[in-house]
């Protein structure tokens, strides 16, 4: 996706860059914060907590001390930008907060569609001329979307044969066998020149969809394409989705139809998802459920790392001469281990250290483009407190919370978090699924924000420099 191949894109970039420059000159910065995270990484909860806490900070509550320090105490007000004529749903913070605060509480359901919200932070100017120029504003653009769709981004640069080969190679790995068996049996038994018979396509697609679902829900895999098969969005499944990878050398009607749908799908995703939302952004928070990946076993852990690297490869971090010319590019990227309240305080450093290894490839790519990066451990909604459990007669640091399913209080010992990707022997204990905790008691209106761990430090690192 070089700019040269797409002159109109280049023009739009230039216009965008000029607008940004103009806005920052008159003190009305606009920043798109891309929150990227695979499915269940915690994007929706993160955005809810971010918005609730920023709005509370705008009312003077001290919910984000580190950010306040970064802003030098000049934060005057925070308000959502009033709805305009957008054709997209608005991210409903109030509803998410109410559900978290309700009795019994509920976490947000899987996100099924895009939703956006913009937030304006109003700040005093730092100079003595403040009274003349009035306040300065920074508008944050935020987007929530289903995590599965993110995996469509790496597809944008592949043709059908290339995508098929890469996808099948990945799905044939032994870790996937439990879910992939039926589908692989089906495609391998297809004669090379088979025609595009409708019921055959339907059967193949149904097998592929079930296989992907099994990989996601039972085995904890994330690098599953195309994303819309797992999460078709509000309109449901369309024939555009009915394709699946074929072994190399496939010819004939079926292969032709698959290639055609693949191409149309990629184009649609480029037009509807990538171009408007991910072509240009200034800051990025990469959310990763490190603990979930660790507990899902080695294959899933490696798969998560691979998926994150592929997504980073597909995003533009700037740094090229064209980016420099058009003034478009990413300034800061933060890698974030979410749900840090699942481990006791003393293990959180290990969590971010492990994340650092997991995202080594994306981080290298970002730093290579001149982007400032940082690594954090964060709990958007803190649901536990530290405690000590006795295991086999020895005291170990654990966390205590109330389980969502039973309402009972329980201690969870999350295991020892290794500082780097562990040796093969580590995985022998098999899978462990972290139970969901109840959120703590919350104020229904969210007037005081939401208890969190490390959200303020993350925001200070991400946007502290523009405040």
């Amino acid at each position: 996706m070089s700019g040269l191949a797409d002159p109109f894109g280049l023009l739009r970039d230039a216009a965008y860059g000029a607008e940004r420059l103009g806005r920052s000159l008159i003190g009305q910065d606009r920043i798109r914060l891309a929150v990227t995270g695979l499915t269940r990484a915690g994007k929706t909860v993160f955005l809810t907590s971010l918005l609730a806490n920023l709005l509370a900070a705008g009312r003077g509550q001290r919910t984000l001390p580190a950010l306040e320090r970064a802003a030098g105490g000049r934060l005057r007000a925070v308000r959502p930008v009033p709805a305009g004529i957008e054709g997209l749903p608005r991210f409903d913070v109030a509803a998410h907060l109410a559900a978290l605060a309700a009795d019994p509480p509920a976490w947000p359901a899987r996100t099924e569609d895009l939703s956006t919200l913009e937030l304006t932070l109003e700040l005093d100017r730092q100079s003595m001329l403040a009274g003349l120029l009035g306040t300065r504003s920074v508008t944050l653009e935020l987007l929530d979307y289903p995590g599965e769709w993110l995996l469509d981004l790496p597809m944008l640069n592949q043709d059908f044969p290339g995508w098929s080969a890469a996808t099948l190679a990945r799905l044939r790995r032994p870790g996937h066998a439990a879910a992939m068996g039926a589908f692989l049996g089906f495609v391998d038994s297809l004669p090379p020149g088979v025609a595009a018979e409708d019921s055959l396509v339907q059967r193949g697609f149904a097998l592929y969809r079930d296989a992907l679902r099994g990989c996601r829900d039972r085995l904890g895999f994330r690098f599953l394409q195309p994303g819309r098969v797992l999460n078709p969005g509000p309109r449901g499944e369309t024939p555009l989705l009915w394709f699946f990878p074929l072994p190399p050398g496939a010819r004939g009607g079926l292969a032709g139809l698959m290639a055609e749908r693949h191409r149309a799908y990629v184009e649609a995703q480029r037009r509807e998802f990538f171009e408007p939302y991910f072509r240009r952004f200034e800051r990025q928070a990469v959310l990763v459920d490190v603990l979930g990946a660790l507990h899902a076993g080695q294959a899933a852990f490696d798969d998560t790392a691979e998926a994150l690297a592929a997504i980073a490869e597909a995003l533009r971090y700037g740094g090229g001469w064209l980016d420099w010319l058009t003034g478009v590019g990413v300034d800061r990227v933060a890698f974030v281990a979410t749900k840090a309240d699942h481990v006791p305080a003393r293990q959180r450093d290990a969590l971010s250290s492990l994340l650092g290894h997991l995202v080594a490839a994306p981080q290298r790519r970002a730093t290579g483009a001149g982007v400032t990066t940082s690594v954090h451990a964060l709990a958007a909604v803190r649901c536990t407190e530290d405690d000590v459990a006795t295991l086999d007669g020895r005291p170990v640091a654990a966390v205590r919370g109330v389980l969502l399913s039973s309402g009972r209080s329980a201690k969870v010992y999350p295991g020892e978090i290794p500082l780097r990707p562990p040796e093969p022997g580590f995985w022998d204990h098999g899978f462990f699924e972290m139970p969901e905790f109840q959120p703590p008691r919350l104020d229904r209106e969210g007037g005081a924000g939401v208890p969190h761990l490390g959200l303020d430090a993350l925001l200070a690192a991400l946007i502290g420099d523009v405040l």
Binding site: G72, G73, D124, L129, G131, L132, V396, E416, D428, G430
Partner: protein, 338 residues
């Protein structure tokens, strides 16, 4: 990522050790009253007891039945502390303004004192007479200022209303705005609507038109004051007197604007109001100085200079009054501006 030195002593070594010796790390649910719950795959009893705990697990509390939700006392932890004043950089221009203020005020006082001393040089009668005139003038101005300044106390109510809006405390904001509406003619018909408001934002929207009306009237007051101070500076003999007249008219203007907003001025709140207002007015002074200097540089013709110098001083004073009216109106709004 400085975790390497933070090794917990509780079993991390398990990962580097040879396999045969490893702890049972499998996930499991272990109610505390049955510690020997089933690990995922069987393991010799002896080994399990010797090895350090490894794998993740959930340990349910003995107490069956639902537990209360965790409470971090978050609301109490985040209440705003006495609002820290934002750090204003005492920049070069700030120092310059400070210096100018000091020079202006100090020199006016010295001027007056010298004048009195000079008059004493001419003779005791003239001296005493001048001193009496100056002292009387200063005393009158002072008492006038004092009366005006004393007049402003209900500013506190504005602060309370604004705080309620900032907290998002609907009940308090309603109570404050109802009281406010009762004392302001323009807002009186709004009272039923205020009682029915369902959210802070709605309340703000309801008040907006009345506030805009008040703002327009404050601007008119400002224009009147501007005309008057322009006239006074044009005819007054000394810059020191100008400053005093300006200050007196300024306070009066602030008071008028406050009255417009239903505030019954008194001392305690006035200080807050004046501080807010004057802080802003000081900024205005800075640009005025710059404009004035530019005007003088352009008008090098002696005659023109003579003429324009006076007029420029008057214009500056008038502009300050207009600005003051706006700032004062902003300071008196029950709803924070913007």
């Amino acid at each position: 990522m400085t975790a390497s030195d933070d090794r917990g002593g509780d079993g991390r070594e398990g990962f580097d050790r040879p396999r045969g010796n490893q702890a049972p790390r499998g996930p499991r649910v272990i109610p505390e009253d049955e510690p020997a719950a089933v690990p995922p795959r069987p393991m010799p009893q002896a080994e399990r007891q010797a090895a350090p705990p490894g794998g993740p697990r959930v340990i349910l509390d003995e107490k069956a039945g639902p537990a209360p939700r965790l409470d971090f006392q978050w609301e109490q932890a985040v209440v705003p502390v006495a609002a820290p004043r934002p750090s204003v950089r005492w920049s070069g221009i700030g120092r310059a303004i400070g210096g100018l203020t000091l020079l202006g005020g100090g020199l006016a006082a010295l001027d007056a004192a010298n004048f009195v001393v000079d008059q004493f040089g001419r003779g005791a009668v003239q001296g005493w007479a001048t001193l009496g005139v100056v002292a009387g003038g200063v005393a009158l101005l002072g008492s006038g200022l004092w009366r005006e300044v004393r007049g402003l106390a209900s500013i506190r109510a504005v602060d309370r209303a604004r705080a309620a809006f900032a907290r998002g405390d609907l009940a308090a904001a309603k109570a404050e705005t109802l009281r406010w509406a009762a004392s302001v003619q323009e807002a009186a018909p709004l009272q039923p609507a205020i009682r029915g408001a369902a959210s802070i934002a709605e309340l703000g929207a309801l008040l907006q038109p009345a506030l805009a009306q008040l703002e327009a009237r404050a601007a008119t007051l400002g224009r009147n004051a501007a005309v008057q101070s322009f006239a006074v500076t044009a005819i007054s003999p000394s810059p020191g007197l100008d400053a005093l007249v300006f200050a007196w008219r300024g306070v009066r203007l602030v008071r008028q604007v406050a009255a417009l907003h239903g505030l019954r001025p008194g001392l305690a709140g006035t200080l807050a109001l004046l501080r807010r207002t004057l802080q802003d007015a000081a900024m205005v002074a800075a640009t005025d100085v710059a404009v004035d200097a530019a005007a003088r540089a352009l008008l090098s013709n002696r005659l023109l200079e003579q003429f324009a110098g006076e007029a420029a001083a008057g214009a500056v004073a008038a502009r300050r009054m207009l600005r003051l009216a706006r700032v004062a109106a902003e300071a008196c709004r029950v709803l924070p501006p913007g």
